[in-house]
């Protein structure tokens, strides 16, 4: 049961993030929700590769014992880098929208309606 804790927290985080994206009326909060979902997915990938009492997969002459899977960590690293790029771009869009519209309310940021 205790080893399912990471997966349960992943689900809770994803639900929190999606709640923020669907119900929060502020563009910055939408971006925050997206980042929460992203952290949850990263946590999920890392916890997939966890081995009980494993050591970090960075030794050439390992001291022995099981190693944690390195592939999920490499995937997470890539995903974090992509996430940083996404957040930076979205937040800079928010700055520009605020500069031109004077608001960050999602109900008002819809001049493209129809």
């Amino acid at each position: 049961m205790i080893f399912n804790a990471p997966f349960i927290s992943v689900m809770i985080l994803i639900i929190f993030g999606l709640y923020a994206m669907v119900f929060r009326r502020n563009l910055i909060k939408v971006v925050i929700g997206l980042d929460i979902v992203e952290s949850a997915v990263n946590l999920f990938i890392v916890s997939l590769g966890y081995v009980k009492n494993g050591i970090a997969p960075i030794y050439t002459n390992s001291p022995g014992g099981a190693m944690v899977l390195p592939t999920p960590q490499a995937l997470t690293l890539t995903s974090i880098v992509i996430g940083v790029a996404t957040s930076a771009m979205l937040l800079s869009f928010c700055i520009l929208i605020y500069r031109y519209y004077g608001t960050l309310d999602t109900r008002k940021v819809r001049r493209l309606r129809e």
Binding site: L34, V41, L112
Partner: protein, 525 residues
Amino acid sequence: MSVWDFIITNAPALAIAVPLLGAFLTPLIYRAGRKTALIWVLSVLGFTEFLALLLVYLVNTYGIQVYVFGGNPSTLAIPPDSGGIPIRIIFTVDGMSAFTALISSTIGLVAGIYSVASEKGRGAQDKFFALLLLLVVGMMGMALTGDLFNFFVFLEINSLSAAALVSYRIHGGKAVEAAFKYAVVSSIGALMILFAIAILYGEYDALNMAMIAERMYQTGFSAMDMIAMALIVVTLAMKCGAVPMHYWVPDGYGEAPGEISAMIMVASQASLYGLFRMCFTVFGLSANTHSLGWFLIILGLLSMFIGVTMAFLQHDIKRLMAYHSVSQTGYMLLGVGVGLATLGTSAFNQYGLFAMEGGIFHILNNMLYKGLLFLTAGAIIYRVGTSDLNKMGGLAHTMKFTAIFYLIGALAIAGIPPFNGFVSKLMIYESVYQLNPFLAVVAAIVSMLTLASFLKVFHSAFMGPKLYNVKEVPKSMLIAMGILSFFIVLFGIFPNIAMTYLVAPAAHALADPVGYITRVLGGGA
């Protein structure tokens, strides 16, 4: 080893490496002047196009191409000490991949030629061309890769560069708003795909599509697979703009510059490729393809009908065309969905395969005429300065070539023979009505409404008294539109060329997941 041998051996990798390197060198080379940078960008795009053509030739001649990064030789998919698992990143190029790579690089080249004149005198062009090349990288990568995580990375490259390009002209904040919406929905979608990839990785301990499909077939389709499949299929359907997840499409396409709209339209066709690849190759052997096919058919019907009816309402030329891309995507989903729903039954050989060929042919045709229409819309906006159809009129008096090109595109999209749109629509009508006549009825009605709304654009933009005293657009824009028009007429009069070399290999490759899997897992030799 001569240069020629080197290119042939490494063609799949070069098709990504050349535009990627070109993208990051563009801002540097731009320091040496705009002309030098343009020559650089166009030669990179031209070489990419050549590589895509080479891939099509190689696939048609020698079958599925497998390229292993870091493998020695580069076709060694399963190293002897790996325990039978393809551990390296593998590019697998079959007919459908080569087809998608070809249309991606073609629209990139055309957009590059077009933007020589259309972007002249605007700021930050070094970044513009770098992003344009990156968008080509994203599309090509999605088409060529055989690795799920790699697919996610290229999907993100695709969406990030496309969102940045949408916001390139700020347009009073509207373009930024569109780019924000596009980026948010693409990012949440990409995260869902990553989540699904993690589920599949945790279950099958592999990232290679062929390996996952093989192990899924052996162990049976589990509940977790179902969740992963739903995440991947729905996200990719959203990325290709299927109703009811199409809301970002009119925003994104409508606010981007003309040539970028054409490119994003093809970028969403790359997502469509991803959708088909996942449905057929990864899940096709294990999942219930009948209900999955019907899911695609229903999405396709909704997209066709709601897309075209919403398009009729619009009075912004780009938004109107954007809704039409939603409706055209519906045709492809319908055609290939019928193929998927009948996969494995006797009906597949009677009409299913033909429906798939129609859907895939429609991807090619849509790239040609929709790209052309977006380019003509860009040309109109370039001269008139507004995208509002209510303020336009009488442009055919002076912009004669643009009017002719527009007419070719409009007739092609409405399915008037002898242009290319008719052929693929005929193929779709004739095959889908055998599954259910209602499908063909909706498709035919949608085609009529398409013609009506493009007549509306033609009348209000080109006909009537001369309201603007404008000149014809510069030569490079005309050349770009001319290339697409040439292929529209060519594939309209000689559809068998496209059928033999592009469409039929693509449809057969999709319909044969076992061939794909054995080619990769059989050592790739």
